[in-house]
């Protein structure tokens, strides 16, 4: 590919919105045939770059050439537009809700002047590949989130563009559909010889790309193959397994800037790639405070997200200082009677059973994660437990009280943070806090004390009189958490609390949650479909179609999966598309993962069934199983049993 001119070439690209610099002198080259990723938190400038490349947004400086044509005039933009497809951000944003799958496709085909016979053939092929063929007549609004995204992709591809630009196609899509989407995209690109520029806010999706630009504040922090990115800030991740999380954290805090709690373990990021050195450094911190047999250390490769944070740290960005983590030791002991208890909780909406006999318990000081795809019933469970929605049958008890017809008294012991960070955006930070303090009947002195605590906890110093609308998402989220905590509840419900928040903000948020659970003994019930967050929970319950299908710790779930299916293999080979086709034909469940393949298999199985189909050059490596793997495998198995 190197002899051809790049398909996209940006030099010193600048885009401003008023005084805000969205894209700051960005250089970018994308070669023909590449699956190129723009990865970064919200507000990093990804969308602006993509829109400029698609010729739908003017830029303020620098040079930009697409297909070797400089995008200087409207005419040049129009010429380029005919050869590319753009899928804007937002689920089904480019589609018409009331039109059927087929009608949507036909519309785009006519819009793009595709000859009818070509369009018909292409439509059949694309619908077949995306497994949407069964749903041709279904109105778009009745499709699931994942199916909407697939239809969006198909509509973007109907005119066989040379370049597709997909803006956060997987945001808000559940993990199973997300994987499906990536697999389909990888197959399509390989088959059609297309180039794709795709953005995502999920760092764990980086390995799906051929090359990636890690974006932050309108610039590319690093560009390269996913595997090379880790080398930009060499480091390794030391996992500390210990019962005494709290003293361990206190001992490590002064030495290591980047550390966090992950369920029952601690994760410490050590600069420098040498594992032995990192282990020794961590050990040196822990030895004085912990007995030698009370902890175990394990070193591993860091995730891209850790590296991203390390890069920001090394650039001198102000990292969130989670003061909460350095505070005093636990005040309340954990354990004892469950504070949240669901017993055969059921809720029907007309004919539809949204929640079906769900039972679980949450102890004080425990972080309990409720996982599931969109529409699995997570939010309904929370609404029943907080008393917003009465259950059709079953019992939800919080702090020993039945929430059906719960009195006001019990509500004073519950905190709730909803999906949308329910803040009054037209009120200032302190007005929001004072409002909730008043609602919960806090007196003047206590209101002031809690206000100070929340401002401290959430890092809102200097923002007290700023309108909530003007805060970045991370701060908004922590303000919402503060408002939910204003009355020091014993039980905290969080409904998808981190959607739309960048990795830095998410980390800080989880640090705070961890402190609340471990130090203050608050019981936390968190719903999420971000699987990287599920790892933070002590205990997980997996929901599928309204039922609870698994209930265990993250580690136990991973162990169970590998016990059933064997370990996870990451396979590199010369022609992954052909290899995937051979594997599928032989009945091996494998999926495309960037330009590699992923599959579960026991080693003997791998050698006997898989290797012969791969070719001599194939390299198979073991890969640690993630919560996402667990989720996807389980849900896929369940869907096979009971098609939705």
């Amino acid at each position: 590919m190197s002899e051809l001119p790049p398909l996209i070439a940006a030099r010193g690209l600048v885009k401003r919105y008023g005084a805000t610099l969205a894209v700051n002198a960005l250089d970018l080259n994308v070669a023909r045939g590449e699956l190129f990723g723009l990865i970064g938190p919200d507000g990093a400038g990804k969308s602006s770059v993509m829109k400029a490349i698609a010729g739908v947004l003017t830029f303020d400086g620098g040079e930009l050439a697409v297909f070797g044509q400089s995008l200087v005039s409207d005419a040049a933009c129009e010429a380029a537009k005919a050869r590319l497809g753009l899928m804007p951000q937002g689920l089904g944003q480019n589609l018409y809700a009331d039109l059927s799958v087929e009608e949507n496709l036909d519309f785009f085909a006519r819009l793009r002047l595709v000859p009818p016979d070509v369009a018909a053939a292409r439509k059949d092929k694309l619908l077949e590949m995306t497994r949407l063929a069964r749903f041709r007549q279904r109105p778009m609004k009745n499709l699931s989130g994942g199916m909407k995204q697939k239809l969006g992709l198909v509509c973007t591809l109907i005119h066989a563009p040379e370049l597709v630009i997909l803006d956060e196609p997987t945001t808000g899509v559940d993990p199973v559909s997300r994987r499906d989407f990536w697999a389909i995209l990888a197959e399509l690109l390989a088959e059609e010889q297309m180039t794709a520029l795709v953005s995502t806010a999920y760092m764990d999706e980086a390995s799906r790309f051929h090359r990636v630009a890690l974006m932050h504040a309108g610039q590319a922090l690093a560009v390269g193959r996913p595997s090379e990115l880790l080398a930009h800030a060499p480091g390794c991740m030391v996992t500390v397994h210990t019962e005494a999380q709290w003293p361990a954290l206190a001992a490590l805090r002064p030495q290591f800037a980047q550390l966090g709690a992950l369920g029952n373990a601690l994760q410490v990021y050590a600069d420098g790639g040498d594992e032995a050195q990192a282990l020794a450094a961590v050990d040196a911190c822990l030895r004085p405070v912990l007995a030698a047999d009370s902890y175990q250390l394990e070193a591993g490769e860091p995730e891209l997200e850790d590296v991203f944070i390390a890069m920001l740290r090394q650039r001198g960005e102000r990292l969130p200082d989670s003061q909460a983590l350095t505070a005093a030791a636990p005040a309340r002991a954990s354990g004892g009677e469950p504070v949240i208890e669901a017993r055969a909780l059921t809720r029907d909406f007309a004919e539809f059973r949204a929640v079906d006999a769900v039972s679980f318990q949450v102890q004080p000081g425990e972080i309990f994660g409720l996982l599931g795809a969109n529409g699995a019933g997570k939010t309904t469970v929370i609404k029943m437990l907080t008393g917003i929605l009465p259950p059709s049958s079953g019992v939800g008890r919080v702090a020993g009280v039945d929430m059906r017809g719960a009195g006001r008294a019990i509500k004073e012991r519950i905190g709730y943070m909803s999906q949308a960070f329910s803040l009054y955006l037209d009120l200032t930070v302190s007005e929001n806090i004072r409002l909730y303090a008043g609602i919960y009947g806090l007196n003047r002195a206590r209101t002031q004390a809690r206000l100070d605590w929340i401002v401290d906890m959430a890092g809102l110093h200097g923002f007290e009189d700023a309108l909530a609308a003007s805060l970045p998402m991370g701060l908004r989220q922590r303000l919402a958490l503060g408002c939910a905590l204003v009355h020091q509840p014993q039980v905290l419900f969080l409904d998808e609390p981190t959607s739309g928040v960048d990795p830095l903000g998410r980390r800080q948020f989880w640090d705070i949650l961890f402190t609340l659970a471990r130090r203050d003994g608050v019981a936390l019930l968190v719903t999420t479909h971000a699987m990287s967050e599920a790892e933070h929970c002590d205990h997980l319950a997996l929901m599928f179609a309204g039922r609870l299908v698994a209930d265990a710790s993250p580690a136990a779930m991973k162990r169970e999966l590998t016990a059933q299916r064997g370990p996870l293999w990451d396979i590199r080979c010369a022609d992954p598309t052909a290899a995937l086709a051979r594997l599928r034909a032989a009945g091996v469940a494998a999926s495309a993962y960037g330009n590699r393949l992923h599959l579960f298999a026991r080693e003997d199985e791998l050698n006997a069934r898989v290797r012969p189909l791969l070719g001599a050059d194939a390299r198979c490596q073991l890969r640690p199983v993630s919560m996402e793997d667990v989720f996807v495998e389980r849900v896929t198995a369940l869907e096979a049993e009971k098609p939705v």
Binding site: S418, E431, L435, Y440
Partner: protein
Amino acid sequence: MNRDDLALWALRLRVMLGKELRQLLRDRVLLAFIVYAFSVDIFLAASGVSLQLNRAATLVQDFDHSTASRELSSRFVSPYFRVDGQISHDSEAQARLDDGRAMLALTIPPGFQADLQRGQPTAVQLQVDATNSVLGFLASSYASLITSRFGLEQAASALGASGAALPVIDNQVRVWFNPNQLDSWFMGITELLNIVTVFSILLPAAAMVREKERGTVEQLLVSPLSPFQIVFPKVLAMTLVIVLGSALALFGVLQLGFAVPVRGSAVLFLLLTALYVFTTAGLGLAAATLARNLAQVGMLSILILAPMIFLSGAWTPPEAMPAWLRALTYLSPMHYYIDAAFGVLLKGQGALELWRSLLGMTLIGVTVFVWGLRRVRMG
């Protein structure tokens, strides 16, 4: 309820009320709209809208060319009429009526004066464009008044010549409450009442649906606030704003600009308005529970407002409606409000004379409010 509970109640009311007022004050667009509606809009309605016949274009087709025919046509003058020229062909009259350049065509037949002088009955023809039924009605009645008076005078002068007396009834009209029959009073006050109605539905509905859109309402439902404690401060805040707006419109626009008298107690009028807004707000709350966003609630409000205003008698007196519609007017809370408001402002009625309206307003209002509240509770 003991003292602590009461203090807690007051604290919650205070913070929620403060929040509502702050939010309203920070919504510059809405605020500008409110100020516009209570000032400029009412000013326009009072000064611009008139139900009077104003210099209607009149064509005269005079076949007689006599003193009498000229005398008759010359009586079609300002302020109601304006003679727009003579025509000689029927087709011309038809054409000008068709294209709207004339509203009336008066045809005086040949021999008109001769017939009158001979004491024979005679006829003139008047063609009226009644596209606007009110104006058409006014034009034809004024025109018949002119012709019959002219006929009467002719008859009197003829009889006077013979010395006999004519029995004439002199109709002595006393016009009460609006002696000069100024449209600006009626239209200005009606517009104010309309605006009050629109905002009393729209403002609480918008405030409620905004909470729903942002998801803050769940946050409130999870808190120890009762649905009433969530809704009451909202309605209270909106009532306050609307009463302030009404005071601005009444004193600043109607009284200052159009000398509308406030014959009864202005305080009573504002209290009436407060009661009306408070109770009508229930309709807005109910609308907010049905709508998913601000746009939907806006459309729903129009759906509620149209029949409410129509049935109120603001634009057509209930007496002019068919019986079954007139019965329905008793269901429109605005019907009572209009009666009471005109009663206080123009007739100088006091609370005692208004008890029927007050009772009707309260009964319907409380029912609607409780219903709206129930809908909020059910989410």
